[in-house]
Amino acid sequence: MTYAVWIPLLPLLGWVANGVAGGRWGRRGVATVACGTVVAAFAVGLAVLASLSSLPAGARHVEIDLYRWMAAGPITVPMRLLVDPLSAVMVLVVTGVGALIHIYSAGYMADDDAFARYFAYLNLFTASMLTLVLAGNLVVMFIGWEGVGLCSYLLIAFWFTRPAAAAAGVKAFIVTRLGDVGFLLGIFLAFGVFGTADFGVMTRDAAARLPLGGTAATALCLLLFLGACGKSAQLPLYMWLPDAMEGPTPVSALIHAATMVTAGVFMIVRMHAVYLRAPLAMDVVAVTGAVTAIFAAASALVEPDLKRVLAYSTISQLGYMFLAVGVGAWGAGIFHLTSHAFFEALLFLAAGSVMHALGGTTDMRRMGGLARPLPWTAATFGIGALALAGIPPFAGFFSKDQILSAAFHRGDVALWAVGLAAAGLTAVYIVRAFVLTFLTPAGPGPRPDRRGPTTPQREPAAGHAAPHEAPPIMGLPIQALAALTVLGGALGLSFTQPGALDRFLAPVVAAGGPDPAGGGEGTLIAVSVTVALAGVAAGWLIYGTGTLRGSSAAVRAWLSHQFYVEDFFNAVVAAPARGLAWAFDLLDREGVDGAVMSIGRMIGWGGGRLRRVQSGYLRQYAAILLIGVIVLLAYWVSR
């Protein structure tokens, strides 16, 4: 199965081709190369899936050693890929959703000056993401892990002449790197414990080398989870993701919804054998996930910017995924990752369609009544919204329900209740977004955008005067994602026995998952559907008909400042770091260098004094000579 190498290699070649010579073959050529390589990678992924399925379940773990990457001292790190059901699923999600978004981008970015640069970055991102999911050890995974971070930075700051975009890119890079300190230390600890960071070895030896609940296991898992928090925008490292919406909308769909931000979830599933040795760490993961889910859902309630609402919804849904893997429901985590990739990408692309129609507006206060001119966009956004809200029979319902029921059956009723409450809030905020965008009468005229005037490069301009549907090259990927959102639930469609996805993943995550066939499943489903419908109804009554009213200013302030988490972070981490840097600078000039220079000055001063001895007066020299002779004579005599 060595040909699986081509999965990351094809988009990488696309990057090289478009990056080096993209200017030479025109927009059509650039788009063809970029989309073609991702589609081809998807095809290879299908072939890998087929040959993997033809193997007996126990043999579905194929390691591909390309060459010896690093060997120093007793450490050896091979450049190794790992093909198993988990990586196969991830490859198909990344290349499948990725290909759709590449195609959509060809329309969305059609008028951008930096068309070739855009697609070069997008291809590099895809290659990095595929390296991440196919990696055979933590170090190779780290290539992809940092590679997607780089591309995220480059694409958030894609319109880098706008200060907000440039700053958002830097913020994303720095905050995720904070998490990566944990990831790196986790790798070092893995080498300390296992002598290797190989996934196969770690999975096999975890039980033997890590005592259950031991310090080493807990530390290892928490360090890696810190990396996951940064990459997957969980509390307290979430704050870069809302700002990341400065990037082009297809980028938000691909990187900041469907793929990169799910890397943390994937990594934990990949390391699940190690996490099972650290129940405390798993609890931390689950609690972080649940708290983030409800925190981000609440923050989305008052957000006026459509894309930022979707960003908070991504953060919130990622919280569900961490809740899933934290309670050991590995399959449910991956299931929700997959269905979320469908419906969140759908929501973003539909939002992109709205922005395309409105000339780049993302402020919902300037939208309204768009259902009439944009019926397709409204319908597909609606499908995504219902899936996000957890309304059956859309994909989001099945995957979210699996997570909640897994939490409930493991006895974590509190986590289940938090997840349920977050689900209710989710329904409210997405109905709000839908109503404000598509239904209410258009807002009170254009208001000044809170990020200042839009520059020509901001988003593809189409004029605010007559909103119209996007061209088919953008429409078709949206409709394909809508279809996947409607049908994707089938991957896990089963209440009493493991679904198709679970069964396929079973060889990887066989150990540890809770029994999905618990009792009272029907009641649980009824409760979550009721909550979701109640959320929808509440949203409709508040924002649609205006029947429900009233909110306290204090609550509003807390929500619109995201509970002041970021302000706290700035006050406690960012500002002191900056102050320390300036203090060091002062210390260096005045203290350290001052000391050196004063030594120099002292020598100079001493030399100046000493110079007076060399007066040039013969009588003085003779006197000194005489004194010397006397001293020497006195010495000899006294001896």
């Binding site: 120093a72 001292g73 050896t76 091979p78 940092e146 002449t161 440039a166 002598g195």
Partner: protein, 538 residues
């Protein structure tokens, strides 16, 4: 004695300097051509040595030995081993690039410039080749003098002050080292074999210094090397010198001369004074960590492009020091590869900064803006170099920092944990640099900025290639240093016998299909706290 390739490495740049000195000072193009030809020829010889170097051999190769001053035991003794072979190649690799990049900066006194540059190359190569203490000292000083003139004659407005500060500061260190060399020599008189300055001969028998005497001698050497690197707090000549020199000279200062300091620690301090290296190791590791964070933090506050890069360079040198005094095979190998990486990446950063300065004459980062949309190719190359400098995986910087931190984590976990925070600091100052210069609104007065010319592309292309080559396939470099590093660490650990791999009984390494490189694990590992498998029991 027939001159071998190593003598050739010294003779070619020297002959080039003579030829340039004899040439007509008005024929600028020809002068540069002569210099470039000599450097290229030197590079070819160095590349030949590098390719013919036998990996897996711990001792010296291509040795050349001739009587110099036999009466006092001085020999002309050259040789390369795993510590120096790649550094030689780096020196020979960077000089032609620096000369090529100087076209826009050095317009006056081209003839003395070419001559001085070639003399500096001789000095640097000699420093890395010499195996006799006095010969080493001669080359060590021989590179200081041309560097002084390069700063003082071709530098910016603050050049005289910076040059004198640089010269006096490094000279102070050198004097201490000279005293220590003489002390080692005099001490050797009491040992079997008598007095000698020959390093392998000195290492082949007990040195006869212990306790506080050894510590003092260690410090005398170490201070000289620490100033050159520089190590916190002996670094304050650096920002002045880096910012006052012409950028191409800074390429050599940061890219190559700093390495001479790190190399000296490995070549002399560790093997001559193993006990002191062990006892003072934690102290130096601490200084390294301070340097990483302190340099990075200050870089973050700088507005002058070259001062920013200078403090960044200092921060990165901290990683090299950290790796050396982790006294762990992985970390020391990482340090050696990081010396190459730092030379390539920091060198490339200063080359690019120089090209930008040539075009605009603006030293401060906030005098730029939106440059990426004006000169896309230049910006793409800069971005690649910046990424290698902040240790993005698949670039060279990652290999070095990863191995250093991984090895340090085994022997000095606390230092490794704090140093790992340095990777965030590096992102902060490097992205601040990119953000201010390349991103943001386009400065209208920069319109018309010229992108890389074909000649400049040819200059930076090799640097970019090495960045990716080292990042993706570092084995040729690691293989060449493995055996020497293992032998060196065995010496420091006080055992000459190689620990058999079985000492790790049941080591998880056994289950990886890739067997560890020949030479087994050094005793330093077993001696480290906890050892590699020690954590599992907890």
């Amino acid at each position: 004695m027939t001159p071998g390739p190593l003598t050739l490495l010294l003779a070619i740049p020297l002959a080039g300097a003579a030829a340039a000195a004899a040439a007509d000072a008005r024929g600028e193009r020809r002068l540069r051509a002569v210099g470039f030809a000599a450097m290229l020829l030197t590079f070819l010889v160095a590349a030949w040595v590098w390719l013919r170097f036998a990996p897996g051999v711990a001792g010296l190769q291509f040795e050349e030995r001739a009587a110099w001053v036999p009466a006092v035991g001085m020999t002309y003794h050259l040789g390369v081993d795993g510590l120096s072979v790649s550094l030689i190649a780096l020196v020979a690799f960077l000089f032609p690039i620096a000369l090529g990049a100087s076209a826009g900066q050095i317009r006056e006194r081209v003839k003395p410039f070419v001559v001085t540059l070639l003399l500096l190359e001789t000095g640097l190569l000699g420093t890395f080749l010499a195996q006799d203490l006095v010969l080493f000292y001669v080359f060590w000083e021989a590179m200081l003098v041309p560097m002084y003139f390069l700063i003082a004659l071709w530098g910016g407005p603050a050049r005289m002050r910076a040059a004198i500060k640089f010269f006096l500061y490094t000279m102070a260190g050198s004097v201490l080292m000279l005293l220590a060399i003489i002390a080692v020599y005099l001490n050797a008189a009491h040992q079997p074999g008598g007095s000698t300055f020959d390093l392998p001969a000195l290492l082949a028998r007990p040195l006869g210094v212990t306790g506080s005497a050894e510590t003092l001698l260690f410090l005398a050497f170490a201070v000289a090397f620490a100033i050159k690197m520089p190590v916190w707090p002996l670094h304050t000549w650096l920002p002045d010198a880096y910012a006052a020199s012409p950028p191409v000279v800074t390429v050599l200062l940061a890219g190559l001369m700093a390495k001479a300091g790190a190399y000296g620690l490995l070549r002399f301090c560790l093997p001559l004074f193993p006990d002191a290296s062990r006892t003072l190791g934690p102290l130096l590791s601490g200084l390294a960590v301070i340097g990483i964070l302190y340099g990075g933090a200050i870089a973050w506050t700088q507005r002058d492009m070259r001062r920013l890069l200078a403090y960044g360079s200092m921060s990165h040198m901290g990683f090299i020091l950290l790796g050396i005094f982790a006294l762990d095979a992985t970390a020391v190998q990482g340090s050696l590869i990081q010396m190459i990486n730092h030379g390539v990446s920091t060198g490339a950063l200063f080359v690019l900064a120089g090209l930008l300065l040539d075009r605009t004459g603006r030293a401060r980062t906030d005098e730029y803006g939106g440059v990426a949309s004006l000169i896309p190719a230049f910006s793409a190359v800069t971005l690649i170099v910046v990424m290698s400098s902040l240790a993005l995986p698949a670039t060279n910087g990652f290999i070095g920092e990863f191995l250093i931190l991984l090895g340090t984590f085994e022997t000095r976990p606390a230092a490794a944990v704090v140093a790992t925070v340095g990777v965030v600091v590096a992102v902060a100052y490097l992205l601040a640099f990119v953000g201010r210069v390349f991103h943001g609104p386009v400065r209208e007065d920069l319109r018309g900025l010229a992108d890389l010319t074909p000649r400049e592309r040819a200059l930076v292309a090799p640097l970019v290639l090495v960045i990716f080559w080292t990042g993706l396939y570092p084995q040729p470099l690691l293989e060449r240093s493995a055996a020497t590093v293992n032998a060196l660490l065995n010496r420091v650990a006080g055992t000459t016998a190689v620990q058999p791999a079985a000492a790790h009984g049941g080591s998880p390494r056994a289950v990886t299909p890739d067997s560890p490189p020949a030479g087994g694990s050094p005793a330093a590992f077993a001696a480290g706290p906890g050892g590699r498998t020690g954590r599992q029991g907890r």
